[in-house]
Symmetry: C2
Subunit: 303 residues, 2 copies
């Protein structure tokens, strides 16, 4: 077994994923911890890696995500787009915590297509990793989609992040699913459920109507006896993903394959939705991309 | 003082408003009670009017709203649009509760402009009342807006409701205000706050971008230092009302004054938002309209 060389940490708002890596970036062990929104990141990080310290000595750590925000460990200023992967590593905030060298990667900011500022923290590391895993993506223009609470659509040209746009898709679905009458007593979302396709079709037929005008149909179709109550969540997911995708394809004017960086479950949902809009897609595992980005950043920063 | 003749009840999901009326529809006393979503409407209605029964004898009652839904007292089938006010009264469900004659008014259903079914319960009675209060609205084509949890945009031609459309504006704002990071630690919505106007302007400049793509700017403008945290709720309200109004004006292709039936607070918000989109508006008090509709229905049903 090769020797442990550093710790990589993908530290978002609600979750910390830890990897004990050798010098080449191979994973020797995995760990988990609480999200960066819980107070005292320093003490929680020390506790989460204490067993590794004992077995391998104090190793340096590279961290990405909300750990670098005002609610995290130390604030790392956003890097402005266009941003190359090398610039992300170079802009890392480095400090010592006890005897440990820490590097926290910066998020990115840009002026989005709508004219408003936009920000990301963590997704830039996943994109950086995806470019390392798939060298063909480092040349030419590509559109990435990172679905989630705040989905990010990211335009990459010749390996640099040029512009991106946040869609509230995941959060909107969760809020409506949990608190609204729209999908009460519904079964879970299933991309094979015809109601998911119906939601996608309905959005496609109503390009001029904002989602605000389409959402109530999740309820009214049930009241009118056109849809089973149990199908409402799949339909609602179809509505939100459909509008997310239709807006992205129009705004970014892109017709190549969309690179989906996420969990397999979200890749299946977004892949099917993109297909319904005549879009193509390729899936890149989100955890794997984050790890590859952290490994790359470690090599740039610590060697 | 004139003699009590009947009870009018505006009974929505979360609130019951009661009026003791004389034969001409003048209000002699007011009462309140729980919404129609709490079980056992029969017992709660009896308790709410017990003092009036003692003073005036058992009087008939006319009720509107969610009391006529599957979660209410008795289900009254929706009436199909186009629907004239006289048809609403004629389709009331009449029954006896103890010695009391009860009439519950039906809601309306239509195929909305998006192609989906749509439904309302309670708003039809407010429109009926508005047409009685303002006789000029009973001729020609008019567009009504009833803001609220599920805002209704209603097209009325020669006194008949022809078609309508539900927008999730109120519910979406409340969910995001309460549960999302978007407007955390913000002050209350103020239509005089420049952030409200900024939200309206931003939507106007981004007609092609769905609200899904505009909402995150409530957070990113704060993160980027362009907006104070305390202004986020006013800005968010501007975004949602702006999109609501822009979509309605485009879908209904209407340029006359929009008749706002609601509270004075909502009339101020929607009036200002309509003004920012070069729209005109007139305000009709929502409680007054509901009462006028119930009084009219009583006269049609019980005399």
């Amino acid at each position: 077994m090769s020797e442990a060389a550093f710790i990589a940490g993908d530290w978002g708002t609600s979750r910390l994923r830890l990897y004990l890596c050798d010098a080449a970036g191979n994973v020797l062990a995995r760990g988990e911890g609480e999200g960066a929104s819980v107070p005292d990141c320093a003490a929680r990080f020390a506790a989460a890696v204490a067993a590794w310290d004992k077995a391998h000595g104090i190793l340096p750590a590279v961290l990405s995500g909300m750990v670098g925000s005002t609610i995290g460990w130390r604030e790392v200023p956003y890097l402005k787009c266009p941003a190359k992967p090398s610039a992300i590593a170079a802009a890392a905030l480095r400090f010592e915590a006890g005897d440990r060298g820490i590097a926290i990667l910066p998020g990115l900011t840009c002026r989005s297509k709508t004219g408003a500022p936009d920000v990301m923290r963590g997704e830039e590391t996943q994109i950086l990793g995806a470019l390392r895993l798939h060298h063909n993506l480092a040349k030419g223009r590509h559109l990435f989609c990172l679905p989630g609470t705040h989905a990010k659509w990211v335009s990459v040209a010749d390996g640099a992040v040029t512009q991106f746009q946040t869609a509230l898709s995941g959060e909107l679905f969760e809020l409506l699913r949990r608190h609204s009458v729209l999908a009460r007593d519904s079964a879970d979302v299933d991309p094979q459920n015809p109601a998911f396709a119906l939601g996608l079709d309905f959005v496609r037929q109503n390009r001029k109507a904002d989602l605000l005008y389409l959402l109530f149909s999740a309820r009214s179709r049930v009241v009118a006896g056109e849809m089973a109550k149990s199908d409402a969540a799949s339909y609602l997911s179809g509505l939100i993903l459909g509008k997310d995708i239709a807006t992205a394809l129009a705004l970014f004017e892109f017709d190549g394959p969309v690179q989906l960086i996420c969990t397999p479950v979200l890749a299946a949902l977004y892949g099917k939705a993109l297909g319904a809009y005549d879009g193509k897609s390729a899936a890149i595992d989100g955890d794997r991309a984050a790890l590859a980005g952290l490994v790359h950043a470690h090599a740039e920063i610590f060697s």
